[in-house]
């Protein structure tokens, strides 16, 4: 504590007192069932799985696992809801339902934030300031589109596709549910959504909210499960569209499986974004940007700036600044408001990160990690830098999906662009420079769907998001995010 008598001591470390977010206002059940046709029903499979808190390894609740038969019930409910209610309703009424969802999410945002951090391990600062507000904003944005679709695509009108099957990942559980459900509903589709098996709780809370908003039964169905459930959704003949966010491997499987079925699909897959720092950039700002690009949400971000490209002349300076900054990062309890880096989402993900980091060391990379201590229980990984790596290293080519940054240098603009584009992915990219004309030259030449110049990892419901090349196809967010859910007529 700083008192008036003492001078501020900048030379020794400041300790932060714990500032945990309270959980007493959060109501969690011991067991969650499937949300089908407006009701919570026990699964035909009779199977439940545990969802745990990755920061402690402790079980939180039992969650129903949807089998093929359950998927079938959900699809049937969604089809009936489409035929009976959703496609018959005036678009302006549809719009009001979606606005309602947005509002209730805002009202319950604190509860949702805490559950998101409990179930997924992300710092409360992020779930409170990013995930949950953006999720409700997404519903608010698309709500307004529902009765304005005639203005969206010049010369054309739109027609809903029907029933959409949606599969979402564990890194932004509620936000991804919003990205999927909001545009689908606004364009007049009904949905069957599968949350990820490690983070189903906020999706089940969203099911409660949808009940509370009094949506017609079956318009939104939420059925947790793992890979098998996802497979049953992808292969279900009663769906008109599949929307998937997840790994490129699974995305390719979905694309192949859907060939010849006439189902529409949109894919938001992996990434290995280059974050390019030019020597005229504001270096301190750039360092903050690099930290945010790779350590935001423990690096569990498909658009993470996981490859850092630094212009040669400033490389040593940037790397030193980065190391200093990493020393100040607070790793620990996701529910503590001071925490910068929370828990790794699951044991399986931690294993994957460890494997790739070992490969980085084996292939000759130089590893750096700060001196921080990690909690004893749960899944944790220190923020990590790699230097002395080149294009052919696995940690430069493969998506790690963890707090691991691979650093390379370059001399010319052309070399930076060449290196940035030397990847099968094309989701995002970053450019740091004080030269306006250079911003436009470089952002234009990076083959990726979202480019952040002098910033990184910013999201907004009005801003389209999605990849080039093996990072997927279709956009989510903004006007362009309507297109994957409509047929143009």
């Amino acid at each position: 504590m700083v008192t008036k008598e003492k001078l501020i001591d900048f030379n020794s470390v400041w300790e932060y007192s714990p500032a945990p977010e309270s959980t007493d206002h959060v109501k969690l059940d011991d067991k969650y069932d499937l949300f089908i046709n407006g009701e919570f029903v026990s699964p035909k499979s009779r199977k439940y799985f545990w969802t745990e808190n990755p920061a402690t390894g402790k079980k939180i609740a039992k969650v129903a696992e949807a089998s093929k038969a359950d998927v079938n019930s959900a699809v049937k409910a969604a089809r009936t809801a489409y035929d009976k209610y959703w496609s018959k309703m005036p678009a302006s009424e549809r719009s009001k339902y979606i606005f309602r969802i947005a509002r209730i999410m805002q009202e319950r945002s604190r509860e949702l934030s805490v559950i998101e951090s409990l179930d997924g391990g992300k710092p409360i600062r992020e779930s409170r300031d990013v995930d949950i507000p953006l999720a409700s904003a997404h519903f608010f944005y698309y709500a307004g589109w529902a009765d304005k679709l005639d203005y969206a695509f010049p010369g054309r009108k739109t027609r809903a596709l029907g029933v959409a099957g949606q599969i979402i990942p564990w890194n932004f559980p509620l936000l991804m549910a919003a990205w999927k459900i909001a545009p689908a509903l606004a364009t007049g589709n009904t949905v069957v959504l599968k949350p990820a098996e490690t983070t189903p709780l906020t999706a089940m809370k969203l099911a409660e909210i949808i009940q509370e908003a009094d949506l017609p039964p079956g318009v939104v169905n939420i059925i947790p499960g793992a890979g098998e459930t996802g497979k049953a959704i992808v292969n279900h003949p009663g769906l008109d569209k599949i929307a998937f966010t997840g790994s490129t491997v699974v995305g390719k499987y979905i694309q192949k499986t859907l060939a010849g079925t006439g189902k529409k699909y949109s894919l938001e897959l992996g990434g290995k974004a280059a974050n390019i720092i030019f020597e005229e950039a504001d270096l301190d700002q750039a360092v903050e940007g690099i930290i945010n690009a790779i350590f935001f949400n423990q690096g569990h971000v498909c658009c993470a700036g996981s490859r850092l490209l630094i212009q040669e002349g400033i490389a040593d300076e940037i790397i030193n600044k980065l190391k200093n900054r990493m020393e100040t990062l607070i790793i620990g309890d996701p529910l503590d408001k001071n925490t910068d880096i929370g828990a790794i989402n699951s044991k399986a993900q931690l294993k994957r990160i460890n494997e790739l980091v070992s490969a980085g060391i084996d292939e000759g990379g130089t590893i750096y990690q700060p001196t921080c201590a990690l909690p004893k229980s749960g899944y944790w990984f220190k923020p990590t830098l790699f230097t002395d790596v080149s294009q052919s290293h696995r940690i430069v080519q493969e998506e790690i999906f963890g707090p691991v940054l691979a650093i390379q240098t370059f001399r010319t603009v052309d070399e930076a662009i060449e290196k940035a584009n030397n990847t099968p992915y094309g989701l995002s990219g970053g450019v740091w420079t004080d030269k306006g004309s250079k911003v436009f030259k470089v952002t234009k030449q990076i083959n990726a769907g979202v480019i952040w110049a002098n910033t990184f990892n910013k999201f907004d419901p009005t801003s389209p998001f999605g990849g080039y090349k093996e990072s997927g196809m279709g956009r989510e967010g903004g006007l362009h995010g309507l297109l994957p859910y409509v047929e143009l007529i």
Binding site: F153, Q255, G449, W452, A453, N454, S463, G472
Partner: protein, 287 residues
């Protein structure tokens, strides 16, 4: 008096701005009415295709980097060159079995279709772009950019108009392409390549192969340096195969099953959008 001996044309393929014969040395005989031999058409090979993709990739940065105005001018120039050689195209269509009236009509619409897309070159970006009012101090905008190298299995039944209707929206958007011409009606495709060659279209932007669909379908849809594939036709099995193969590197597959290319509905700015990617750029606003 003895009639002058006609000079016959050798129909070759078009790769990287050059007119080679197929590297495979193979051909197939194209016959006209009463089994009259019309030409020995190159039976393009896998290697010809690969060379074409290399040429198309090489041409991509230059072509996509041209100004929209310049691409529009070049597309207009293509239409001018077509107009100048209209008699040749009409007679080729007649040779392939069309009536004079039908041939005349097809050539007219083909020329007009290029004019149509030429005019879109500096407008589709405005149509499909947006400035996004994000709730933070950032300037944020989204614009379409060309997907990259596009392969096309051109319509079998419409050797000129169908071909032009799929090529024009792809190249006006800054993509480069490799095209497999109609197997049974390949004459106009080769002559069209000659038109492109004299229309300021840089070599490699359009590469034109002739040959067998069944033989090249997999190559057109599996190549790892191809970003999108357009399949024209109604063969369900082939369409499915193209879509399956596309998953290898998340190519954008498009199945086009237009029956009548003369209709106005066969031209459309949303066809340009099919081979575009939306890029969103963020920049902070501040001092």
């Amino acid at each position: 008096m003895k009639k002058r001996l006609e000079v016959l044309k050798t129909y070759k393929i078009y790769i990287g701005g050059k007119f080679p014969r197929t590297e495979s040395g193979r051909y197939y005989l194209l016959e006209g009415k009463n089994k009259k031999p019309l030409a020995n058409i190159c039976r393009g090979s896998r290697k010809d295709f690969r060379n074409s993709v290399v040429a198309a990739r090489k041409a991509f940065s230059g072509w996509s980097g041209r100004t929209a105005y310049n691409r529009g001018q070049i597309l207009y120039r293509i239409a001018e060159m077509l107009e100048g050689r209209r008699e040749q195209f009409v007679s080729e269509l007649i040779l392939q079995g069309d009536s004079a009236a039908k041939a005349e009509k097809e050539v007219n619409i083909s020329i007009d279709r290029f004019i149509y897309y030429a005019g879109w070159s500096d407008k589709y970006i405005q149509l499909f772009s947006s400035v996004n009012p994000v709730a933070s101090p950032h300037f944020n905008f989204s614009v379409p950019e060309p997907t990259g190298v596009v392969t096309m299995i051109a319509p079998e039944e419409s050797g000129l108009l169908g071909l032009i209707s799929v090529i024009a929206p792809v190249i006006v958007g800054g993509n480069t392409c490799v095209v497999l011409a109609s197997h049974s009606k390949p004459l106009c495709a080769v002559s069209f390549a000659e038109v492109l060659h004299s229309s300021d279209v840089p070599g490699g932007v359009v590469n034109m192969l002739t040959g067998f669909r069944s033989e090249l379908l997999d190559n057109f849809s599996t190549h790892m340096d191809v970003n999108a594939v357009i399949y024209c036709g109604d063969d369900k099995k082939e369409g499915k195969r193209v879509m399956e193969n596309s998953s290898l590197n998340v190519k954008r597959p498009h199945i086009i099953n237009t029956k009548d290319w003369t209709k106005e509905k066969a031209q459309d700015p949303y066809q340009i959008l099919d081979t575009q990617e939306i890029k969103t750029t963020w920049h902070p606003i501040g001092i």
